[in-house]
Subunit: 208 residues, 8 copies
């Protein structure tokens, strides 16, 4: 393989949060709810921490699909927010694509509900326009594992890179020395095992 | 990736339902029976809803493989129905291929029992003739997950796109505004969680 | 063991359907949704088929818990329907207990959402008053398998008998000769594998 | 615990094979089919090996439930064979109970399909009449693990002992010296891992 | 069963949180970490909400077992806090037992890490002294499911009641009318699916 | 995809059975033993049924790896049998490669124990020499599912086609009319669910 | 519950290791092999650490069942070692029972292969003679989880206490102050997660 | 496929062990701890056995990530040991890359914790520089199976070969005759099932 390794670059990445709405969340059964909620908020905190431009979009939020997770609205009060009037594929909505292109970024970090539709459709559309697409798999959910596997297969075959929020954060950060405390706090807030390590560590080192 | 994203197009798609027969259904153990039955009927209702040409075929239906699910016969009384005299790969049956080609469609939406034979064989044959093939994974079943994984690998490597019926319906519909009620009814009839959302929603909004 | 085997008796049994409401149903994750919906409707159809007195109750149905599954209301238009104003344990509601006692039956067939609360609490209360309690486990759901296991342990230790709807139907019916067609239809409508058997059978026997 | 340990005794045991019929077998999904078929045949071979009186019974074998596994008929050509005209609980059939009592045995080794009905009902009835009941769990099958768990709970609470065929064979045999080759052959024929051990062993010891 | 149903009573219950320490938490593998952390905090919030006396204890907190989860210390700054000098069974520590008895309560709600030791040992000791013991299973964790099953079996056989925090909260509260908002907030903070229901509900009802 | 679909052709295929030895079989834990034994024998019966040239090979059969499954030796008394003196990759053994090439076939159907070594190594070597390789996944076994997944990934990326024995048999047979009874017998002997279908069918059709 | 809590007491306990033989170990599939080997050695080290009398026994060790794990022989060179000539239930062997009774202990800590035979049979026999029986579940193995569940049910109903080696070690030790280092070493050698905690701890505390 | 099969070659391979640190190990939940520890030590022993140059590296070992597994330090006292000051991707550390290139090897055998970061990042970087990369999947661990699957997909798509330590050892060794005893010992020390085979074998062959 001689083609370059496409690495996430915090100066060239935008985060797309697609349809994390109260009703649709109740359809997600391939990830346990406590974990899924935590992952979505972790991705949002990551976007915030790295100051990545972030775009929110919803589908039919006044109907049964329900309102966007209020935590996301609060975290990104000034982010472009596209309440799509009907387009299922967010990329079919001109405002959404304009908002993406307005950032000037070529790397799309995308997550949403449900994976095979709200994530896969815009991912496939964006790949076709030569964007680099990074799917945050653990902040995306769907009906069951079989459906998820099929959606991953389709996106991966089209060139998307499958990641988790933790891997994305590490690839964006590159070097702990850029900010130990910030990244550590992000991890401590969203990875209980890591928080335990930090609690044990700080107890022991503070003691002396 | 510069090759275009091949999207399902309701004006260019045909649905192939292969060997959903009473006997063969008893072989399916990679999906729980209540869910599988629901998925097959959902795919059939989807075909009906989008007015997609639909072709039914069976293998040895007078033997132990048993009769076609009667619900499918009832839904598509006028569809081409090819009771294959012996060909295991439906694509080896001239009448079946003729029926497919007579539709003039280039996108094949296929599901059947069992996945690695009744779906994979015609899918591979059709890909070779440059059709676009979309496998509806959750309306296709087989002996166990390991067999399914192998069948998916073979089809995906040959260029088939792996989908679920819900994803296919969303890709065909494109925009809720084309018909909110119709699509909503399709989902409500086959996705209990969605039905619950709609029941709660309509109760609350009717009340006022 | 010399104590008599307490068998379900269709002349001495009442069915209690507790809190199968649209919102609460979205909490159920120990059973796959297609299967759970089917089981609840199967239990209801069973109650209907055996003409068992049936009592419906809900908790806070105007709030987020949501409305009762409409299918249940339709099946039992004349059944006692107790919309509890606040009691979590249905047995704490006088109207509910009165409705149960008014039937004069000593065998309670109970199912509900969620298992460890809406089923377990009235089951434990009724056992204390010397009712025989039969929990329909597969028409009762909760957050996860671990929670279900704990709830079963508590109810079983208190004397409840754990059953599935199919077992209950068989124990109530006693002998196929009482009505082959009726019971067969109940099974065919709610057990896809059984329906397949019947379809194959009737195709073969009608043919001759 | 001072009550005596009720051990299987080959002079006091009878084997009851209930409803292992072709149609009903297709309902069994709590055990993988290759394993289940092997277990049922192992139990039958065990009954044969220990010369235990064995009773066969079926439910509606001319209908969709289908014929008894032909291997069982062949193994026990002279065994009482009660084709029940309608009773779901075999113990409700006088001929069946008479056949059991005619053996004069007090230990019932029972297996069947489906567990919560065809096994549990006669097991509970027999326990009430002070028989000792040993359920062969791995030669009994049903719709899913949840249903099995409930059935086991009901039978265990009523005093049944839950065993597998291998444990029963060992408890009946007591001492390898009673017949090394016979028991070894039984295990080799039905436990692939044991057969491998024996193949390796005999290759090495024959060689020298 | 004529013995009374022992119901949790908020005027007669005390909460015992045993060894939820950073190091020990890393041993817990029978529950996913996000869910486990949430459950422990939910139980603590429940204790707070119902103003139940609460007792904290740790084992060797200056060694590898690590410090108590800081969130627990913060929630209960004035609770008895017994850092055990060595006793593995908290009930072997006089101060702990005194603290329990000082509350005058007879119902012990207990959770801890690891289940078969830190929970089971004091549970068994307390049952012997005729306390009623309610194990909060989902706020207790251990190495794997097999170990958990054995621990439950031992405690259940000795008379402990197995519950989850949600069931305990419901049994303590008895009637929503005692405080709808308070209980609703507790649930919304710790049950993502319930939070979704409430978000959808309040969006729809506020709108009008 | 314009490259032709490489279909199994009974006139161009050879079966390679690699290291199905008693000792090595005890390492297989990604498939349940009853099922695995059945699959290996099914593949062997398939080879026999289609008269495919078959080659047996073993690794160190006089050591702990143990003797070849005796059933295989009996089925193929005249097949080339290469007891490799030490080569782990069978393709590194000249006699083995010669035996393969002597058949003149270009399609290799391969299975063995363990998957990532005894199957993958010769598969990769043969692909490099432009053979078409069909891995019979369910007659190949290894330590666990994770190891299997990695082995499949490596072989699939190199161009191998992943199949199960049933799929291979269907692709080789092409048309039931070539021999209904023969293929049906093969399936009946190795697929319990299929045997059940045939038993029910023949009972019903013989009856009239 | 007023009957006393039967606690393991290091002055009143004996360890019985039954049939951990090379051949039989290959039958164990309810626990992953690395974990199982570790658990058996942990139990043995525990017996050694607490100086508990320990008794070894084997079944047919010159046949396919194979030799005892050599590590056990090395750890207990002077322990009674009963190579049973044929009795399947070790308690049927006089020498074994004599060896047990010679210790004068009333608490039997037992583990073996396979659970439902080599463990359950002597456990049930010993319970009948009023011994207290503690089954070390994770150092006992069998064919699959279903078989294990049935064996546990039978033993638990007869009064056995189900434990894991870690719980037994904690109950025997009572108080860390009896020997911190010894118990810590036992845990570090057999619980990788605990070893990690200790490594982190000692690195941090040594550093200062 | 005409491109050559890239086989591991013991004269051209280097082993990279990345971040197997006490703290990070507690994050690994996609492999059971006993198995994971064994796999890591097996890989290390394999590197030693084949005299492969080996490079150790850690991330922030003085913080919560904790010290390297001491066993690794002891096995490779003279290996390059790069304690990275902050770079998350080891390939971003010049000393690490220099150490790799100094070996002159083109085949990188890599394992680490966590898979999607500490393994995937240097793997992708090295592939870009035309190294051949072999990921030892079972000596690499991460948060859960879903995360692992995504990491494998990314690495596999970039050209990495996914293997287990056993497969790598077999591919490096090529022929048992190179050293039967050495390889056998490596397997016996790390594969309990293989050790059992060898124990049975040597007992039987020594006896005569």
């Amino acid at each position: 393989m001689s083609k370059p390794y496409v690495r996430l670059d915090k100066d060239n990445a935008v985060v797309l949060l697609v349809d994390h709405q109260a009703g649709l969340l109740s359809l997600v059964r391939d990830i346990e709810p406590d974990r899924f909620k935590n992952n979505v908020l972790a991705l949002a905190d990551m976007a915030k921490y790295f100051n990545l431009p972030t775009i929110l979009t919803t589908s039919f939020e006044n109907g049964p699909n329900g309102p966007l997770m209020p935590e996301l609205k609060e975290l990104f009060p000034d982010a472009p927010y596209i309440a799509r009037p009907g387009q299922i594929n967010a990329w079919d909505n001109e405002d959404f694509v304009k908002a993406v292109k307005a950032t000037g970024k070529k790397q799309l970090i995308i997550a949403g509900v449900v994976t095979e539709v709200c994530v896969a459709f815009p991912a496939l559309s964006a790949l076709e326009e030569e964007f680099d697409v990074f799917v945050i798999t653990d902040a995306s959910g769907t009906f069951n594992a079989m459906t998820r596997d099929a959606a991953w297969d389709r996106m991966s075959n089209a060139g998307a890179q499958m990641m988790n929020w933790f891997g994305a954060a590490c690839e964006l950060h590159r070097d702990w020395r850029n900010d130990v405390e910030g990244l550590g706090t992000l991890f401590s807030n969203h990875i209980p095992d890591y928080r335990n390590l930090m609690n044990s560590y700080s107890t022991l080192t503070n003691k002396q």
